[in-house]
Symmetry: C2
Subunit: 445 residues, 2 copies
Amino acid sequence: MHATEVFGQFAARYHRTELPETVIHHAKRAVIDWYAALFPGLGAAPLAQLEQVLAEDLDRGSCRLGNGRMATARAAALFNGSAAHAAEVDDSFRDAMYHPGAATIAAALAASQQAGARGLDFLRAVVLGYEVSTRIGVTLGRAHYRFWHNTGTVGVFGAAAAAGYALRLDAGQFAHALATAATFSAGLQQAFRMDSMSKPLHAGRAAEAGLLAAQLAHQGVTGSLDVLDGELGLGRAVSDGPDWSDIGATLGSDFHITRLTFKNHVGCGHAFAAIDAALALRSQHALRADDICSVAVATYGPALDIACYTDPATENEARFSLRFVVATALVHGSVRLSAYTPERLADPAVRAMLERVQVAVDPQIDRAFPGKRSARVEIVTRDGRCHGWFQPDRKGDPELPLSDGELEDKFIELAAPVAGEGRARQLLSNIWELERAGCLAGLAA
Amino acid sequence: MHATEVFGQFAARYHRTELPETVIHHAKRAVIDWYAALFPGLGAAPLAQLEQVLAEDLDRGSCRLGNGRMATARAAALFNGSAAHAAEVDDSFRDAMYHPGAATIAAALAASQQAGARGLDFLRAVVLGYEVSTRIGVTLGRAHYRFWHNTGTVGVFGAAAAAGYALRLDAGQFAHALATAATFSAGLQQAFRMDSMSKPLHAGRAAEAGLLAAQLAHQGVTGSLDVLDGELGLGRAVSDGPDWSDIGATLGSDFHITRLTFKNHVGCGHAFAAIDAALALRSQHALRADDICSVAVATYGPALDIACYTDPATENEARFSLRFVVATALVHGSVRLSAYTPERLADPAVRAMLERVQVAVDPQIDRAFPGKRSARVEIVTRDGRCHGWFQPDRKGDPELPLSDGELEDKFIELAAPVAGEGRARQLLSNIWELERAGCLAGLAA
């Protein structure tokens, strides 16, 4: 049986099974975190431009952009998927090197709004999208992550599976939706190794592609069921020919959606263990910026490949500069949206600190990637003392999760400046009640 | 200078230069052949399904589907790009292993209709799309063609360049349009190694992706300009790290659009030299099916990789069965649309002949691929004689081109059953006059 068919059979069983209450709870946490990422993304590039381009598809249809404007389903998926990834605060599933929420929830929402779904069914669509796509991402493995941006390439499966649930695809249709999504899969890492606006579009295109694949399968369009594991399939084309035989092993028993990472800082998540370590040292030793002579960061290879800018000139580059975010943490005590304003980009204190930060790969930490995202920071102070901290996990990882309260605080901090605090709190309350909602009118997007 | 920038600078110069009359003539031939492919594609899978899925985008907008229905620009690009590849009779640029027309002309048409362009500007958009995308396809080379379907992956550049011309992008915007298109690039060969409906969708998605990339660049969206030739760029991700340094060498002097292959049979073009050889032997020796004991076909490797079905059960499989199309040619004397009807799929004479056809790779012929698409056929007859024929090029290749009259015959044969002969002849006449048309109202789609 091909991997697409394994998922198809699971999806057919899934229609008829109830979900554990804790899984529903985690699905709501994922939706809260998705909105926390969506709101600041609405104002980031390239969303204003995308809204212009989508003019033909707006102020009509049964779906909504994150800013409340009506839209066709595919336009809403494209826009909201992009917006939810644009501020770089969206969730991730660590072992898949993948931000599952952006595309999956955008497509789940568009397909569910179009279908007039209940709240619970929307949440169930989200769960299914996470379960299918994270397993495909895990299987594609680290070799895939060399050239490809999983949030685009793997995101299509999250979107197709979630939309497939909303459309009530049968086992065969669901397998064909994934097969069609696979051959729409795209997104290169090079697209954000130079300052550009491409990265959020990967998530938006994945949401739209997965939705389209599910809609086509619903109409009877077939794909190649061996497109993942076949001789020339995705596994060989974009990775090192991984083993698909266990793809369904834990489906329905181990719910990946319960093991998400929610970002506790703003920026590239690969830098977060280093930020946590720097903040721990800062707090523990009451360090002031002026005290610090040198900062040595050791972490895993892809963190330096991706958070690679040594002297960032733009907001985007700063988000992907491990040196910049560690320097910001040490100078200002946090790395939030305000870390990337023009003033802060030019801040002499941050720039001076950045000069003192050295980064390197630690082979032992690197070997534990992607399962562990660790960093070690050593700080030498002017009085000649050396302070070290090893951060095994990031705050926000499943081992050090954000509590519901911390997640709410993150949501309000990011949503309120855009939506207003009253509307943000109402939305939060509506999401916590979502499994009992008869429709999705209580959602903002 | 990155490859995207080389093309951007060429595009900016191209706005201000006239095209040789012969290039305009070849552009009109490409448009005629595109419509010849479009009409039979309208009735093929998965176009009816796609039309259902696009319901939100139809009966509005300023563009048209091939069946005349109004549509938004992106929906028209997606639908027409898919339709033009669905019947497998669209053009190719041999050295790029690529069908340039399907996506390029679909996007050129959508963007030109939306912009209210004149006929000449539409033709100029088509030319630019062919020139840019065929060069990228040639550079990606044979290594790319192992896993990827160039009509999808390379098609995005044809569409982006053509739409970029219609939108009058400046040098920088044009480069960014290509950069964004690159990271939308998708389409796996595995998607048609099993009977499926994915293949035409690759061309449609490419048309839509390239159009979107150009529209985004027009609004100021930037991509990574090093996304083709960078360390993790498309050239390394999907090929063997090709050399991009000559990418602009012949731009503006050697017009690739003058060297297209137009299909003279219906089906996978990799089988055509073998069909030509079989038809030559059949005619030269007045062979009847009953006379034939055995047929040995020798050709290049990818022909057998792609036209791979040994015992085709469906229309799609038959189109990609070298054995089937050679058997059909020998029994019926031609391989046209009628070759793939259910009756012909089950035809005992074809099935009996198919059993007698052996296929193999000839190393010398294989080494000349993709520049040459040759085949050798040897037929042993019941009276013990052996007849051989080496076909160096395919009828329809630049070395053996269809005359304008032969192209018109192909167009009428394929368009008239769908559009009616009167409308088909009117459209043909309108295309031949296109460079003098003040608008695109004379085009059917």
